[in-house]
Symmetry: none
């Protein structure tokens, strides 16, 4: 894999920004716990878990990136140690179910509906990530990537569709001063989740290869993660604060 110095630095700095943003967001959520009532504490704790786990994985990716390349006098050479793509997938494997739980908790469904939704959506999410992984590690921008990506799109579409409809129905049942926020949450969710497959398939559309493809993928997923976990988390936090005030 050949990387220019600019590409190497861009990915490095994106990972570093991720570490700072995820760890700061975690502290923001947890320090704000006293502002929400008991009923919503779990949603806020879980919101912080998502960013905490991401912070950990970005620290590992940062180090792995540093181990994979050396940049001396502006020339980047690969050390032969592979950059570990799996950190990202392990991160998703843990955080996507948590994000779903976070969302379900804040929708205040009945208990049986909560359990049913959690199992169906959680299973679909695990499948989506498991199917995307072989395409991602294969490394090339070729038919292997295309095939696994296409398979992963099936559970993905099921999840996004179910959440979008589920959230729409739940919005109607909520106090009007949180409807706007729930609607924002719904759109951030759909847009940020859709950005992942866009990034995955971008090298095909833009005919990129090698270092360019890798840079677009790593920076793209980082942007998607920041929106899906931090921006989305802040909205969830605000919903929890407002609902706590309503119910006081």
């Amino acid at each position: 894999m050949e990387l220019t110095f600019g590409q190497y630095e861009l990915v490095y700095n994106a990972f570093s920004l991720g570490i700072a943003a995820f760890l700061a967001a975690t502290l923001f959520f947890w320090l704000g716990l006293s502002q929400v009532s008991d009923k919503y504490k779990m949603a806020v704790v879980v919101t912080g878990l998502v960013t905490f786990i991401a912070g950990y994985h970005y620290l590992r990716m940062f180090d792995s990136w540093g181990d994979a390349y050396t940049a001396v006098d502006g020339v980047v050479t690969s050390t032969g140690v592979a950059f570990n793509v799996a950190y990202r997938y392990v991160d998703w494997f843990l955080t996507v179910p948590l994000l779903l739980i976070e969302l379900i908790l804040v929708m205040s469904l009945t208990r049986s509906e909560t359990v049913r939704k959690a199992i169906l959506l959680g299973g679909a999410a695990a499948l989506m990530i498991a199917l995307g992984y072989p395409g991602e590690v294969s490394g090339g921008i070729d038919s292997t990537r295309l095939l696994w990506g296409a398979l992963s799109m099936i559970p993905f579409l099921y999840i996004v569709y179910t959440l979008f409809i589920g959230l729409s129905e739940s919005i109607a049942r909520q106090h009007e001063n949180v409807r706007g926020l729930l609607n924002t949450a719904r759109w951030i969710l759909v847009l940020s989740w859709s950005f992942y497959p866009v990034v995955y398939f971008a090298p095909f559309v833009m005919s990129l290869d090698g270092g360019q493809a890798q840079t677009v993928i790593e920076v793209g997923y980082t942007v998607a993660d920041l929106v899906a976990k931090v921006v989305f988390g802040v909205i969830i936090f605000m919903i929890a604060v407002r609902k706590s005030q309503n119910e006081k």
Copy 2:
């Protein structure tokens, strides 16, 4: 880039002082959270986030400085690994919007005014930093630096002017026992923020180059960061404590 041993050590020690001061300030703010009422908790949490994020970036800058040079027997040689200037800009990119939020929260504006101000000022701040960055990384003390710096001054002047006027108006509306503190906050803000462009342009005014220029820039920004984040944060914390007492 040639650095004398004294310059090398000065920058190293400035970064180390930064790490200690930012992390200590973070703990000071967060340990003091129980002293402010719910209404001001978010302002104090955010004040601590600013110093937390700065602490992280100073740790990275400290390491990057160590990787970029070796100092043996009082002779400093460059290793060929570039000192990563981007950490500072990523730090500003995250902390400047948070500082603005901190300030807006403590001014207790109406919700719509808060959102409007946050968007306008946040956008201007992002632009200011994005325009300064190409000038800073170009490395030279030349017309590239001058041009980008001049462009960055436009959003900068807009922000400082808006905040100064906004704070003046808000001061009149506040209880008299916090007016003095708000006035101090206003002046610390204007002076510390103005110190950044002063540092940026200093090598031109003082006709410095190479190691001298780099030392003045790194130490200068560190001093500016300490005042803009720690000293300013302490004032914000005191305002929050006093307002909480007033409203009890």
